[in-house]
């Protein structure tokens, strides 16, 4: 029986093709916008999360100043760390490997050009060297890693070597950092992505050399801790925070430093992305609402036009519920067809954006095409259609057969 109602409803929709398609268009645009935006923002979130996961979730970053995203924020803050702060936390229980680095913006001269760029001073002893070798951000494309004993030598990220200057750097190139000559001994592999982009642009030099360049005796830009297996990252982070609070003599809540675990950084990113996503989808939902109103309008018109038919169907035994069902199926179909086309084109737009982004080496813009999104969007479109059709359908079903037949 329900199939027959579908057949009747479908016949009514195809009777007025142009109007049906225009109505479908309203839903189609709304769903396309929602699906496209969700697909891209979800894809971006997934890509970011997997990048973070690749970096490892057992990291703690301690930087001077208030809470921020990693060590960079520390360089803008008035509060500073010294090697003594590092000494206070490097041996706390649960810490496997610890690194204190010094980073600052410097003038880099290569050939005839001078550019401003971030320079990072890393400590290089044989134990840390083994650790660095396991990190993808230290993968070498050309040349070699810095090693203990190097002084005015530099490792350059792929971007800094190839894109920062008109001329490309090679192993053996000479660069000047704040006027001091360095020899490029290694060029890193390209990382790409959002987290990798920062690394690609870094110039890494031994920490002792950085002290000479920036003329800072024992300042520390940031402290990285890797948590040993078997310890909770959060516990270690809390211990480090307590220790540092005591060492720097500040009260809880008034810290002039921040301790962030990988999980917290991920959560912060997710939160920002979540807000962006909500705003975008909210805007797209408005167009979907307009599409729904379009369906309602079409259905009201349809009820008025088909009043006589409703009377006929009632006279041959259609109950109110049957009439209502036919009209609901009609509006639901409008929604579902719009939803199907909208999902397909939304995913198409997502994939297109992904493709275009790839042409510009942006790998983090990946369209998410998961089943829940597809099914959810189509179901949503059908529901929008059915809800928009509810009032017209009730109106149709309540028509009095005698009045309806007289039309």
């Amino acid at each position: 029986m329900i199939f027959d109602y579908f057949r009747i409803a479908f016949g009514n929709l195809t009777r007025r093709k142009l109007r049906s398609w225009l109505t479908v268009l309203g839903i189609f645009i709304g769903i396309m916008a929602v699906v496209g935006l969700v697909s891209l923002s979800q894809g971006m979130e997934n890509a970011l999360l997997s990048e973070f996961k690749k970096l490892g979730t057992n990291r703690i970053v301690i930087s001077p100043g208030g809470a921020g995203m990693g060590p960079v924020s520390g360089s803008f803050s008035a509060a500073k760390f010294t090697e003594e702060d590092y000494g206070a936390v490097k041996d706390i229980r649960g810490v496997d490997i610890s690194v204190s680095i010094y980073s600052k913006s410097a003038y880099i001269t290569f050939g005839k050009e001078t550019k401003q760029n971030m320079v990072w001073g890393f400590p290089f002893d044989s134990e840390l060297l083994e650790f660095y070798k396991t990190q993808s951000m230290f993968d070498i494309d050309e040349g070699r890693l810095l090693r203990p004993g190097d002084r005015y030598k530099a490792m350059v990220g792929w971007g800094a070597a190839n894109e920062l200057f008109d001329k490309k750097m090679k192993v053996g190139s000479k660069i000047y950092i704040n006027g001091i000559e360095f020899e490029v001994v290694g060029i890193h592999k390209k990382m790409g992505g959002v987290t990798g982009a920062a690394s690609d642009n870094m110039i890494r030099i031994p920490k002792e050399a950085a002290r000479d360049v920036f003329n800072e005796a024992d300042e520390v830009g940031a402290i990285f801790l890797r948590v040993d297996e078997g310890y909770e990252v959060d516990d270690v982070a809390e211990r480090a925070e307590r220790k540092l609070r005591k060492f720097r003599d500040v009260n809880e809540g008034e810290e002039d430093f921040s301790v962030q675990t990988s999980a917290q950084v991920i959560a912060a990113f997710e939160q920002v992305l979540g807000v962006v996503q909500a705003v975008l989808v909210g805007l797209a939902a408005i167009s979907l609402l307009v599409g729904g109103i379009g369906i309602m309008n079409t259905m009201y018109t349809s009820v008025v036009e088909r009043t006589r038919e409703i009377g006929i169907m009632k006279s041959v035994g259609a109950r109110n519920s049957a009439i209502m069902m036919i009209f609901l199926i009609e509006s639901g179909l409008l929604g579902a067809v719009g939803g199907t086309i909208g999902v397909a084109s939304g995913l198409g737009i997502g994939k297109l954006a992904e493709f275009v982004a790839l042409q510009y080496d942006i790998t983090s813009l990946q369209a998410y095409t998961g089943f829940p999104l597809i099914l959810g969007a189509m179901l949503f479109a059908f529901v929008v259609g059915a809800i928009a059709g509810t009032f017209p359908a009730i109106q149709a079903s309540k028509l009095h057969p005698v009045d309806a037949l007289r039309k």
């Binding site: 029986m1 027959d4 009747i8 016949g11 041959v316 109950r319 057969p401 005698v402």
Partner: protein, 260 residues
């Protein structure tokens, strides 16, 4: 077999034997008052009407006599303001719209002046529609619809839409549709009103055969005296009550023979 016997009785015995058959429809002091703004306009003023099983009754009357209102009442399309309407001794004057729909679908077949076929559906689908609303399985529906279209000699036109059929053909589709759920009563509202006299008489022959061969009770509303004379009995309505009652030609003339 039973039908054959009844038919034979009807032919030989005429009206006197038919009177013994049970009452199908009984209107008792039926009032219908329409509210036109401040004014109450009565369309029926205590109408009394009795129709027995197997009868062919014409309801006549000038416009404003209440014959359309009376038809709506008999067809369960509307309920009276006051009074009692019985269908097979069941009081239907207080039923809800959905219950009335159910009764209409099963026990009454409508034939309208405007044919009133659904324009998007084919002839076959139009005939199947009343069975759809009764939840009959699709295969049974189709089989019966084809049989009915065959009966009105339109089996070669069953996949045509109403717009591709002539007026007479559309009305025959409507007759087939009226018979879909094998109702006891066929209610025809000016069935030949939109047809020329030739196609009109073909349609009228179909109606007469339904009464003779299928033993259906037929109630026909018309303002045309010639058309009304096809019935056994003519009830003349005036000002919402029966003004006079007379005999028609039906029962005195033989049933029309099936053509072809």
């Amino acid at each position: 077999m039973a039908k054959k016997r009844q038919k034979a009785q009807g032919k030989q015995g005429g009206a006197s034997q038919k009177k013994l058959r049970p009452m199908v429809i009984r209107l008792k002091d039926v009032w219908k008052v329409y509210q036109m703004g401040e004014v109450e306009v009565p369309a029926l003023r205590g109408l009394n009407l009795e129709i027995r099983d197997g009868e062919f009754v014409a309801i006549m009357g000038p416009s404003g006599s209440g014959k359309s209102t009376a038809m709506n009442m008999i067809g369960c399309l509307d309920i009276p303001t006051r009074g009692r309407i019985e269908l097979d001794s069941q009081d239907i004057s207080q039923l809800s719209e959905s219950d009335l729909a159910q009764i209409r679908g099963r026990r009454i077949g409508f034939i309208f002046q405007q044919f009133n076929l659904i324009p998007t559906l084919t002839a076959l689908e139009n005939v199947m529609l009343p069975m759809t609303f009764q939840g009959m399985p699709a295969a049974d529906r189709k089989e019966r619809a084809i049989k009915l279209l065959d009966m009105v000699e339109l089996e070669d036109r069953m996949h045509h839409k109403p717009s591709e059929l002539s007026g007479g053909q559309q009305q025959r589709v409507a007759i087939a549709r009226a018979l879909a759920n094998d109702p006891e009563v066929i209610l025809a509202d000016e069935p030949t009103g939109n047809l020329d006299s030739k196609t009109g008489s073909i349609v009228m022959d179909f109606l007469k055969r339904l009464n003779c061969d299928e033993d259906k009770t037929i109630i026909m509303v018309t303002h045309d005296e010639d058309v009304a004379r096809n019935a056994q009995r003519i009830e003349l309505l005036r000002d919402g009550v029966v003004a006079s009652s007379s005999k028609g030609n039906m029962g005195q003339l033989p049933c029309p023979e099936k053509k072809g």
